[in-house]
C-alpha cells in the first residue's frame, strides 16, 4: 500500500505573523498512499502548515513540493493536484448534489458523471437533494467526494471527525482507508489520539511551531515505554465507546435525517 516514492516534500518550512512564529522550520516527507497525521495542541501550527502546502498561505522561508512541483512558484498547478477537506465544509444552498459535483469537477477542469461519485459514498439516492437536507455524516462524505473528483495526488483533511458521532467517525475512517488504497497520500490533523493510532501510518507531533516527534504510532509508544513510563490505571478490555457502538450498532445512523 505505502510505497517508498516520496510525494510531499517539506523542507525547513517557516511562517510568522506579526513577529510571532507560527511554524518554525519544519521538515517532513509523505509517501505515496501513506496516511500521515499531524498532531498537537491548539496553536501548535498544524493548520498553518497545511494551509502553506495547500497554497492558501504564503511561505516565509523553506520550501514545499508535491510530486516535484514547487508549491510557492506554481500554486495553480498544485491546486489541481490536491484535494482539501476543510474543518467545517460549507456548500451553497438550493443546489443539487449532482450540480455541486459538476461545479467542483469543472473548477478542476474536469467533466465527470456525478452519479457514480455519489454512489461510491452511498449517496446515490440523494442525487437530487440539496446539501442542507443531509445529515452531518452524509455532508462529510459528500464533501470528501467533491474534494476527490479530480483524482488528486494528496488529500488534506483538517480535523475531519470533530463533531461527528462514533458511527459517522468510523465510516469516515473507512473512506480515508479506501482513498489511500487508490494511491492517494493523505495528510490529516486531529485531536483524537485514538483516531491517529488506528488510521495513521506515521504521525508528526507539533508544539510551538516545531515537530517534536515523528514516527509510527507503535514506535512512539514503544519509545515512551522504554523510558520507563507506566500508566497509572490498568487498561480496561473494553471502553465506553465500545459499549456505545455495541448498543447502537456499528452501521451508520442514516435514518436519523432524511
Amino acid at each position: 500500500m505505502v510505497s517508498n516514492e516520496v510525494v510531499v516534500k517539506v523542507k525547513s518550512l517557516s511562517k510568522s505573523y506579526d513577529g510571532t512564529i507560527a511554524v518554525d522550520g519544519i521538515s517532513f516527507e509523505v509517501y505515496r498512499g501513506e496516511i500521515f497525521g499531524i498532531l498537537g495542541p491548539n496553536g501548535a501550527g498544524k493548520t498553518t502548515t497545511l494551509e502553506m502546502i495547500e497554497t492558501l498561505r504564503s511561505i516565509d522561508s523553506g520550501s514545499a513540493s508535491i510530486d516535484g512541483v514547487d508549491v510557492a512558484s506554481k500554486p495553480y498547478q498544485i491546486r489541481g493536484m490536491i484535494g482539501v477537506q476543510p474543518q467545517s465544509p460549507g456548500f451553497q444552498d438550493k443546489t443539487k448534489l449532482t450540480e455541486l459535483i459538476q461545479m467542483f469537477a469543472s473548477a478542476y477542469g474536469e467533466k465527470v458523471d456525478p452519479l457514480s461519485f455519489l454512489e461510491e459514498v452511498e449517496l446515490g439516492d440523494k442525487a437530487d437533494s440539496y446539501v442542507e437536507q443531509l445529515s452531518g455524516g452524509q455532508k462529510q462524505r459528500f464533501s470528501i467526494v467533491t474534494a476527490l473528483v479530480h483524482n488528486p495526488k494528496v488529500f488534506f483533511l483538517d480535523e475531519p471527525t470533530t463533531g461527528l458521532d462514533p458511527q459517522a467517525r468510523r465510516n469516515l475512517w473507512d473512506l480515508v482507508e479506501e482513498t489511500r488504497k487508490r494511491g492517494i497520500s493523505i495528510i490529516l490533523t486531529t485531536h483524537y489520539m485514538e483516531e491517529a493510532e488506528t488510521l495513521c501510518d506515521r504521525v508528526a507531533i507539533m508544539d510551538n511551531g516545531k515537530i517534536i516527534a515523528l514516527d509510527t504510532p507503535k514506535n512512539l509508544i514503544k519509545a515512551l515505554l522504554k523510558r520507563g513510563f507506566e500508566k497509572t490505571q490498568q487498561v480496561e478490555r473494553a471502553n465506553l465507546e465500545d459499549v456505545f457502538l455495541d448498543l447502537t450498532g456499528k452501521h451508520l445512523a442514516e435514518g436519523a435525517v432524511k
Partner: protein, 403 residues
C-alpha cells in the same frame, strides 16, 4: 413582444456558445484532440453560470428582490407621475339659481383644467380649505350671476384666494376671462382683428414618466449589480464556500465572469418585465431598437456589477460592507436621475453628475428607448462607461479575498 424576442435571441446565443464549449470538452473522451486550456477554463465559467442561475430561480427571496421589488417602485412612481396635467384645485360656491349659472357650473365640472373640490359649499369652508392648502382658489358665483338683461346673461364671478397663492389666482382669472370672452363674443358681435390658432407639432415630447421609467431601470440595475453580490459574497465567505473554491485551480476572473453572465441574464429578465408592465399599464412609447437597448443594458449591468463585485469581494462580513455600500449607492440614486430627472439640477451639478457611473447608463437607455437613438450615437455615454469599467474592475480584482 419585441423585447422578449430580443432577450430570447441573446439567451440563445449565449447558450449556443456554452453548448459548444460543453461539447468541445466532451470530445476529449472520444477523440485524441485535447481541449485547449481556454476552452476548459470557459467550460468552468459555463457550469458555474448554469448552476447558479438555476439556484436563483429556486430561491423565492432572490426572485422577489429581482423581479417583484422593482415592480413595486414602478407602480408607485408610475401612479405618481401619470396625472401630470396641470390642474387647479378649486372650490366652487354657486349662490345663483339661473339657468346660465347652472350650465356654467356644469362646464367647469367637465373642464379638465379644474379639479373641483365637492366638499366646499360655503365661503367659510372654502377659507378653511384654502388655508390648509387643500385647494388653490375658490370661485364664487353671486345670486345675481347669469340674470338676463335684454336677453343676455350678465354678472360677475368672484375669485377668492390666499396671499401666497396669487399665481393660482392669475391663472384662474385668465382662464375664466378667456371663457367669458368666448361667451361675450357669442352675445355681442364685435370684430376681432387679433386671433390665436393652435397647431399640434409632429414631435413627441418626453413625458415625466419617460424620465421616471429609465430612472427606475437604473434603480433595478443598482439592485441586481450591487446589492446582489454585496449580500451573497460575505455569506459565501462565512460558510467557507469561497475558501473551499480557493483550494481549486479556479481563477478569480472565471468566478467573476460566471457572475457577470448570471447577473446579465437575471437583470435583463427583470428589466424586461418592468418594460412589459410600463408598456401595458403606463403606455410608454418604445421608439428605439430593443436589441440595441438590451445590449446597452447588459453593458450597464456589467459596469454596475463591478462595484458589487468589488464591495462583496473585499468584505469579510456583512457588517463591514453595509455602510460602505450605502455610501456608494445612496448618492448614486439621487445624483444620476433615479428618482428625479437631472435637468432639474443646477448646471454645475449636472456637469459633475455626468461622470457618475450610473448616469450614462440611465441617459443612454432613455436616449435609445424613448428618443430612438442608436447605440452608435451614444459615444459620450459609452466612453464614460468604458473608463469606469476599467477602473472599477481593476479595483475589484485587486481587493478580492476568498475568505
Amino acid at each position: 413582444m419585441n423585447f422578449a424576442l430580443a432577450i430570447l435571441v441573446l439567451v440563445l446565443i449565449v447558450f449556443r456558445i456554452g453548448r459548444r464549449l460543453y461539447k468541445a470538452k466532451y470530445t476529449v473522451v472520444k477523440k485524441v484532440s485535447q481541449p485547449t486550456p481556454w476552452q476548459t477554463k470557459l467550460y468552468t465559467v459555463w457550469v458555474f453560470f448554469v448552476v447558479n442561475l438555476k439556484r436563483v430561480f429556486r430561491d423565492r427571496l432572490a426572485l422577489f428582490f429581482t423581479f417583484l421589488f422593482p415592480l413595486i417602485f414602478l407602480f408607485v412612481f408610475g401612479s405618481l407621475s401619470s396625472n401630470n396635467q396641470i390642474s387647479l384645485r378649486i372650490g366652487l360656491i354657486n349662490n345663483s339659481s339661473t339657468a346660465f349659472a347652472k350650465s356654467y357650473v356644469a362646464n367647469l365640472e367637465h373642464n379638465r383644467l379644474f379639479k373641483i373640490n365637492k366638499g366646499v359649499a360655503t365661503l367659510a369652508q372654502a377659507n378653511q380649505s384654502m388655508s390648509r392648502g387643500e385647494i388653490d382658489a375658490t370661485v364664487e358665483l353671486p345670486t345675481s350671476f347669469g340674470t338676463l338683461v335684454n336677453g343676455v346673461p350678465t354678472g360677475q364671478a368672484i375669485i377668492h384666494y390666499t396671499h401666497n397663492n396669487d399665481q393660482a389666482e392669475q391663472t384662474l382669472a385668465s382662464l375664466m376671462q378667456t371663457q367669458f370672452n368666448v361667451i361675450n363674443a357669442h352675445y355681442v358681435k364685435t370684430s376681432q382683428p387679433l386671433k390665436i390658432t393652435s397647431q399640434v407639432s409632429n414631435q413627441h415630447s418626453l413625458t415625466a414618466f419617460d424620465y421616471t421609467f429609465t430612472g427606475l431601470l437604473g434603480f433595478s440595475i443598482l439592485g441586481v449589480g450591487i446589492f446582489g453580490p454585496m449580500n451573497v459574497f460575505p455569506e459565501l465567505k462565512k460558510m467557507g464556500i469561497l475558501r473551499r473554491l480557493h483550494t481549486t485551480p479556479l481563477r478569480v476572473w472565471q468566478f467573476f465572469l460566471s457572475n457577470m453572465l448570471g447577473q446579465a441574464v437575471t437583470g435583463l429578465l427583470s428589466l424586461g418585465v418592468m418594460l412589459l408592465i410600463a408598456v401595458l399599464v403606463y403606455h410608454i412609447k418604445i421608439v428605439g431598437n430593443l436589441a440595441e437597448l438590451s445590449l446597452f443594458l447588459i453593458l450597464g449591468i456589467i459596469l454596475i456589477l463591478g462595484i458589487g463585485l468589488a464591495l462583496g469581494g473585499w468584505a469579510k462580513n456583512e457588517r463591514q460592507v453595509a455602510p460602505l455600500g450605502n455610501i456608494i449607492v445612496f448618492p448614486m440614486m439621487f445624483l444620476t436621475g433615479v428618482f428625479f430627472p437631472r435637468f432639474l439640477m443646477p448646471q454645475w451639478l449636472q456637469t459633475i453628475t455626468n461622470y457618475v457611473p450610473l448616469t450614462p447608463v440611465i441617459d443612454g437607455s432613455r436616449l435609445i428607448l424613448t428618443e430612438g437613438k442608436s447605440i452608435l450615437d451614444l459615444g459620450p455615454q459609452l466612453a464614460v462607461m468604458g473608463i469606469w469599467m476599467v477602473i472599477i474592475y481593476a479595483i475589484a480584482f485587486r481587493v478580492f479575498r476568498w475568505e
